[in-house]
């Protein structure tokens, strides 16, 4: 009984902190503060995921939700004009009306959730997943759902990522690179980058039976790229443009190749043959990890990196021709 009360106190504390940090991130008039609160909120959310039995999400949230999103927003802060930085939330009667409307909406949503949360029956789905798990080629149920039971969804998700990064590349050149780092950061980089690559490899391999997988591993690799960029590496650890293009599509390509091969051998699209599922999943995940990492690094860079102009087939969509 004592333990239950303690857990309840922890839950209430986490819930209140979540709401407080969310409020602070959304309502602070100072945009810089908002971004910092948002990063703290992401880290807190990672703890909540761990509390709710979702370690895969905790890893992804800490690396992507808090880490890379935070880095993206911090980099974007540099681009904001000075005027809006300090006074970013509208005031006045209209703002009050909007707030009231949102409160009413939120109350209705909360009431609906209260009424229906017991009606939903997720147990049957969870039992089906655990029943089918032994034949899926992996023992981590989340990886099994992502790359076997619902592999189609993950394939299309990689297509969404590709569309986003193509949009970013088409929008214009990257932000100006950072100055080369001083000896202290340089020394740190020499330790961090290999460690992150090692962690990425481990997470990719561990994803089959423990929390981890292509997304978390890709985020770790992307973090190495971000650190390299911060340290003044103009390529952010990316290979040549032509190679990057191939890496960007490699996730989808691996998925499609495996899917077409299973079709040629008389099965359904992405219906793995018995005994091959584990190997094929690892193959797809390796390609997906590289594609996700390259996508996230380019997302952080925020456009075409230097030297991408010369590449064949590079359209001048921005219409600005030469260097600026």
């Amino acid at each position: 009984m004592m333990a239950t009360t303690l857990w309840m106190m922890l839950d209430v504390l986490l819930a209140l902190l979540c709401l407080a940090l969310g409020w602070a991130a959304v309502s602070s008039h100072d945009l810089r503060r908002s971004v910092v609160f948002f990063i703290a909120f992401g880290l807190l959310l990672a703890i909540v995921w761990a509390r709710l039995g979702a370690p895969d999400l905790a890893l992804a949230e800490a690396a992507i939700g808090a880490g890379l999103s935070g880095a993206l927003l911090l980099a974007a802060l540099r681009d904001e004009p000075g005027g809006t930085l300090d006074d970013d939330v509208s005031r006045g009667p209209l703002a009050t009306a909007v707030s009231l409307l949102v409160v009413v909406l939120g109350t209705v949503f909360a009431w609906v959730v209260w009424q229906t949360i017991d009606v939903a029956d997720p147990v049957r789905m969870a039992d089906r997943i655990s029943g089918e798990l032994s034949g899926s080629g992996v023992s981590n149920p989340v990886t099994a759902v992502l790359l076997n039971f619902r592999a189609y969804d993950t394939l299309l998700e990689l297509a969404v990522l590709l569309a986003a990064v193509l949009g970013i590349l088409a929008l214009g050149p990257a932000r100006t690179p950072y100055q080369p780092a001083g000896p202290l950061f340089d020394g740190l980089m020499r330790w961090l980058v290999p460690l992150l690559m090692l962690t990425a490899g481990y997470l990719l391999w561990a994803g089959a039976h423990a929390p981890g997988g292509a997304f978390q591993a890709g985020a770790m690799l992307a973090a190495a790229g971000v650190i390299l960029r911060l340290g003044g590496d103009t390529n952010s650890g990316l290979p040549r443009p032509g190679m990057v293009r191939r890496v960007l599509v490699s996730g989808i390509a691996a998925f499609l190749l495996v899917g077409l091969s299973t079709m040629i051998t008389g099965r359904d699209f992405l219906e793995y043959p018995d005994g091959w599922a584990g190997t094929l999943i690892l193959l797809i995940e390796t390609a997906a990890m590289l594609a996700i990492a390259a996508t996230l690094v380019l997302a952080y860079v925020g456009g075409r990196p230097d030297g991408w102009r010369e590449g064949p087939g590079d359209l001048d969509i921005a219409g600005d021709g030469g260097p600026r």
């Binding site: 959304v26 709710l52 509208s90 949102v102 949503f109 986003a164 970013i168 997304f215 997302a299 921005a318």
Partner: protein, 95 residues
């Protein structure tokens, strides 16, 4: 039987969604709005994972976990695209 944790975190999810919605409507800068929409998304994720929770000692439902994992990655790529669009817009305005 209703789980305390499930209900608590689901309601927090709704609260975060509302906070994010208010921010997305009232923020002036694009960066602030994108940030608020991210909070909105976090609320939806929290609702999904709260429903997937089945109590202490029981394995949670993996399907919403996979959905949310996908969602986190899509959210960051959408954020990056929105910020890149905003930067491009500002550069176009300046010219």
């Amino acid at each position: 039987m209703m789980l305390f944790e499930e209900l608590l975190y689901a309601i927090v999810g709704v609260g975060l969604f509302s906070l994010g919605l208010r921010g997305a409507l009232l923020r002036r800068s694009l960066l602030g709005r994108v940030l608020a929409i991210n909070i909105c998304g976090a609320g939806v994720f929290l609702l999904l994972i709260a429903i997937a929770y089945r109590g202490p000692g029981l394995a949670p439902d993996a399907l919403p976990h996979a959905l949310v994992l996908t969602g986190i990655v899509v959210a960051v790529s959408a954020t990056a695209l929105a910020l890149a669009l905003g930067r491009r817009l500002r550069e176009t305005d300046d010219e």
